[in-house]
Each structure stands twice: as C-alpha cells, then as structure tokens.
C-alpha cells in the first residue's frame, strides 16, 4: 500500500525534505504543496552563503550536526558534474570586525580558516581584526529548480495552493511535513515565528571574486559574488514584515558596501530585493500528532531556520526524513478508524 506524504512549502527546506524523503523512506508517494515556487520563495533571493547565522537559541550541537552534514553534501555536489546546475560555488573571502571576536564554531568546518594579518587589514581602513576563509555557496535561484527536477524525476508530484490548516490534508495524506518557513507562524499558530527582514541589491560587478562580510555597531554589510551577479547587503530587522525595498536601507547598504570596496560605486544595479528570514527562538524540527479521529494527522515540523536555511537544509532534511519514517511506522501500529 502506498503511503502518501505531503511536504508543504517549496523553499530550500521543503524541496530538500521532499527529495530526502524520496531517497530514504521506501514505498511513499511524495507531493510538494506550496503557495509559492521558485523564483518567488525566500530562498531564491538569498545569496546562499554557507555560514550559521541568526539561529538564536538553537542548540550548538544541532547547528554543528546539521551544518556539517549540509557542508558535506555541498562538497559532494561541488565535486560532481552537476555543480554548475545546482548553483554550488567554492569561494574565499574576508570577515571584518572592528574589535577582536572569538573564533566561530564553524572555523574547523570551512577550509583554510585564518586570522587576518596587518597586511590584509591595510586594505580595509577602519577594521582592526577579522578572518579569511574558503566557503561553499549554494545559490537558491539555481538550486531550487535543480532539486525540483530531481524530485519530479523520482516520481514526485507538485501542487500549487495555500494551506490554511494542516488537518485539511488529513484525508489525503498519511504524513505532512511542515516546511512553511515564515508562513508557519500563521499555519500552526506559532507566534514565536518572526520575520527578520533582509534587504539586498543584486548588481553587476564581475571584478568581485571574493566575498566580504563586515560586522560592526549592529550592522552587517556583505558582498557575495554569485554566479551571475553580486549580492550587496544587508539588513536584519526583527519583526519587520515590509517586503518592499526601503530607500533608507538602500542608502545604508550602498554606503556600507562601497566603503568596503570603493570600486562598487561604479557598478550597475540590476534590482533590489527583500526577503523575510523565518526566525524562531530555535529551529523546530520534531514530530507532532494533530487532530483527532478521522482528521488525525502525523506532522513533521521543519521550520524556523532564520538566516541559515541553506546552511542547515540538508542536515535538517535528513532528520525530517527519519521522522517521517518514524511517523509512518507509528501509523502502521495504530491504523485510522
């Protein structure tokens, strides 16, 4: 008997969960149901830089586990012929600070992590310390279509639509995986989900071959060269739902980035974009039984990844697949009435 699994949400968390479930859980038919698909999801606008970020109180051992699993996955993709299609890039660059900071937990995961020397810092007046490291970047704009192709090839189904409550899916599916990101708050009544608004420019500046990330005085200005354009950011405004670029933010980002790399003043702006990072005190990745009787449903929640959706996605997707397997096994023991 075919068991049916529905993944709600088609961002990086949803699509990767769907693919992992197909790969790891035997005998299931997976459907991805979402209001939005690439290129209209939050993941599409993100640069996709691997670095744990805006994860609040998520336990460090989980960040490490999920982050390292994702890093390994990206490494494998990078070495394979599909790297280009999947949007995976290896790149190096600078983290800049105005005061010395403790080495980050991910220092031993990335390649060649080192402290900046006086010589490095000569290039960045105003900054007195920092790091240089080699990271992987996985562009949502390319990765999501690549995942979707993989998903469909393995027999996955896709449906467009908005879900107002999970139990409405109870009659059609055995398990529902909630990957709604910023929408999860409304869907399951979780008031701890808050947006952390991020605004960016996408510009043409092909002479930028490294990344730059400067954190100081509550600002985080960053420059990430993706495959076809360069991301200039950013903002991290808690509780701000505004999806339109704001001129004050545009100006601050522009000035902040041009101070880091003056030649950016001459670049050509392609467009501006705003995304709402789905922030939560901790990532929610757990099983829940909802509803009663004929509308009872096994749910696997996988949302609230803050600014680390791409950084943690594969590790979380693997865990979500394991939880789906658990949920299905449980269901076999107590069949629906």
């Amino acid at each position: 008997m075919v068991r049916r699994v529905c993944v709600v949400g088609a961002g990086v968390v949803g699509l990767s969960s769907a693919v992992c479930i197909q790969e790891k859980v035997p005998g299931v038919q997976v459907t991805v149901l979402s209001e939005k698909f690439s290129p209209h999801t939050t993941s599409d606008g993100a640069a996709g830089f691997w670095e744990p970020h805006i994860l609040n109180d998520t336990p460090q051992e989980l960040i490490r586990r999920w982050g390292d699993e994702t890093w390994d996955h990206l490494k494998t993709l990078y070495l394979s012929p599909v790297a280009c299609d999947a949007g995976v890039i290896l790149l190096s660059g600078y983290h800049l600070h105005k005061q010395p900071q403790q080495d980050p937990d991910w220092a031993s995961t990335v390649f060649g992590f080192r402290h900046l020397t006086k010589q490095d810092l000569q290039q960045f007046p105003g900054f007195s310390s920092g790091w240089f490291s080699t990271h992987l970047l996985c562009e949502g704009r390319k990765y999501l279509p690549w995942l979707m192709t993989k998903f469909k090839k393995a027999g996955g189904k896709v449906q467009q639509g908005k879900v107002t409550s999970l139990t409405e899916l109870a009659d059609r599916y055995n398990v529902v995986v909630n990957c709604c990101g910023i929408g999860a708050g409304e869907l399951v009544g979780d008031s701890t989900v808050q947006p952390v608004r991020g605004q960016v420019y996408r510009v043409h500046a092909p002479w930028i071959k490294c990344f730059f990330d400067a954190e100081y005085d509550g600002h985080d200005f960053y420059i990430f060269p993706c495959s076809n354009n360069v991301v200039l950011g950013g903002t991290a405004q808690k509780g701000n739902w505004n999806l339109s670029p704001h001129p004050t933010d545009s100006k601050a980002i522009w000035e902040g980035c041009c101070q880091l790399v003056p030649s950016l003043r001459k670049c050509k702006v392609d467009h501006e974009w705003v995304g709402l990072r789905p922030s939560r005190p901790k990532v929610r990745l757990e099983r829940e039984s909802v509803g009663k009787g004929s509308s009872s449903l096994e749910v696997v929640h996988n949302y609230g990844h803050g600014g680390a959706g791409i950084t943690l996605h594969w590790g979380c997707a693997q865990q979500a697949a394991r939880l789906v397997q658990e949920a299905l096994s449980l269901q076999q023991l107590k069949p629906k009435l």
Partner: protein, 346 residues
C-alpha cells in the same frame, strides 16, 4: 628632456606611467613618447590572463624581491580606488599545485595569506598533485589596464607613435633617453641572444562561477599538458601551452585539444563552457632573467651618447614584475636627468 619608451605592452606602459609619476616634476621638463610597432589589441600583453604570480623559486635576490613588493604595493594602492576595475585590477585568491613538493617560494610574505592547501583540497580538487599553495593575489588584466594607462598618459601629455624601431641608434637624434621595453623584439634591438619566445595559446570561456585561479606545475600522468585557469572580468582564461622553438602565430587545433583535455581533467565543471575567444602569443623569455640596467651608447650619429635603460625579458610574468621594475626604471631615468641638468654658470 626627451624620453622615449619602446614597447606598448605591459612593461612599456607601466614604465611610462612610473616615469611620469616620479620624473615629470623633477629636474626640468620631461617630454615622453611611447613608440611601439604594436599596441593593444595586437601585442603579447593583450591575450595574457594577468595573474600576479612570480616564478616559484625558493631564493631570490633583494633586488628581485624589491621589484615584486613594488608591483604588489602598486596594485594594492589601486585596489582601494573607485576605478580599480576600469584598470582591470581586482583581488583574486587561488591555488598553485605541484607534482613534486618544492620549498615555499621566496615571495610568500609579499602576497597575502599564503598557506598550504588542506588535505581535502589536494585530494578532491587536485587529484594526482602532491602539494599546493593557496594565496590571495591580484589579476591585472592587460587588455583593460593598457587602454586605461594610455588614457591617463595621454592626459598627462604623453604621445604615442605606432612604428617599428629598427635600432636604438636611430633614436639618438630625437631623444636623450630611450627605455627599451621591446620584449621579444630585444633579440634584434639589443642584439641579445639570451632572449627567446615561448609560444602560448589560450582560450577565453564563459564560466562565471569560477572564483579562484589554478596554476599547475609539473607533468601529471593523468592530465594532458600543464593546465591553468584564471578568472578574468568577463570570462575565464584557460591555457596550458608553453612551447619553445615554435613560431606559429595562428591557433593550433592540436593545442586547443591539449588545453581542453587538461582543463577538463582538472575541473570537470568546465565541460560545455562556451568558448568566446582563442588567442596565440609569445612570452618574452630570457636566459639569466630580466635585463634591467642602464647602458650608455657612444658612437651615435649625433656624437652625443644615448642613454638607454633596458627593461625586458620578463618571461611569463610580465604583469607580476612590471610595476616594481617600472619604479626602478623611473629611478634610473631620474638619475640621468639629474646628471644632465644644465649646471648654472658662474
């Protein structure tokens, strides 16, 4: 003082820039002319990838290290300006990998963040190679830098003449000082038998996702040729051809094949990358290294000695050496101008 620079490639143009910078306000008026048989896009520099990368020697003289430091410092100073990319200059991290382990290079403290490659990088990115270095260098793309330099020089009153110079002596009636940056042409111009041409062939391909350069050294049994790839502004330069004794000026399909085989073995993601341009050029090699020195030519048609400053033989590292050598050339020119300054009569 009438000064001419022979050669409009990276060595000649940087020499002109630094002469104007250091000498134009000192010791009287300076009139500078750049004379070249070929300018961009018809010269050797046009096709070069522009990577800052000196020869991998463990030991270098103080003078050589000073030149390298001079080049690196100049590029660093341009990097912070708003026009860096117009001059084709940008930061570029990357790898040099070797078949046989060699000691760290003499210049490792001049570049930024020199380190050895991690075991993962060596095993997965460069299978077959035994050792690798990683550092942040510059790319200074001649095909952007040279037009930018020409504009700047023209603004400062420098003239450009396109013609072939057949002998240094023929310039004696017209110039006080000649700076000889003739590259491969120095064989004839300076009667220098140590100069030879090393043929190179490259392609420019679309691979905008490549964020690091790779230079390989030594013959890897599983890879054809000695491949290399450098990101440039709009394309990636791929190559791997270094031939002595071959004067073929057109692209050779057999070399194209060798380059592709080497590059694909090095990085399979390059498969299917669109080729935008193919180009052949000749690196100006010199046995014994760069010739950078003053020579006073007597017995000229005017009876006056002609002061020559030689600056040629930069091999495959013209971009790397150019600014540091140019500074040294400018110092020599300044000295000559001081010597020639008319002494006031009592």
């Amino acid at each position: 003082m009438k000064v001419s620079v022979i050669g409009g490639g990276i060595v000649g143009m940087t020499s002109a820039l630094h002469i104007m910078e250091q000498c134009s306000s000192a010791h009287g008026q300076l009139e500078l002319t750049v004379i070249s048989e070929k300018f961009c896009p018809d010269n050797t520099s046009y096709g070069a990838g522009g990577l800052w990368k000196p020869p991998s020697q463990e030991h270098m003289s103080e003078a050589e290290l000073k030149r390298l430091q001079g080049s690196f410092d100049f590029l660093t100073s341009v990097l912070r300006t708003s026009y860096a990319h117009e001059a084709g200059i940008f930061l570029q991290p990357g790898y040099i990998v070797h078949m046989d382990p060699i000691p760290d290079p003499a210049w490792k403290d001049i570049v930024v963040g020199f380190r050895h490659v991690t075991p993962w990088e060596l095993t997965n990115l460069f299978p077959g190679y035994k050792q690798g270095w990683f550092y942040t260098a510059f790319i200074c793309q001649p095909r952007d830098f040279l037009p930018w330099a020409k504009k700047r020089l023209t603004q400062r009153g420098v003239s450009f003449v396109q013609r072939k110079v057949n002998s240094l002596e023929e310039l004696a009636p017209h110039y006080d000082i000649v700076v000889n940056c003739s590259g491969v042409g120095a064989t004839k111009l300076a009667s220098d038998e140590a100069v030879s041409a090393s043929r190179g062939q490259v392609m420019r391909v679309k691979a905008p996702w490549l964020r690091y350069f790779v230079e390989t050294d030594g013959k890897n049994p599983v890879i054809d040729g000695i491949p290399y790839m450098y990101p440039n502004l709009h394309n990636v330069v791929i190559g791997g051809i270094k031939q002595t004794g071959n004067s073929r000026i057109t692209n050779d399909p057999r070399d194209t094949d060798t380059i592709w085989k080497g590059i694909l073995a090095l990085n399979s993601q390059m498969k299917g990358a669109e080729v935008v341009e193919e180009w052949t050029g000749f690196r100006p090699m010199r046995d014994g290294g760069i010739r950078l020195e003053r020579e006073t030519l007597t017995g000229t048609s005017t009876g006056r000695p002609l002061e020559v400053v030689h600056n040629y033989g930069h091999g495959e590292a013209g971009v790397t050496w150019s600014h540091g050598c140019a500074k040294e050339v400018a110092d020599i020119v300044k000295t000559i101008m001081a010597e020639r300054r008319p002494k006031s009569r009592l």
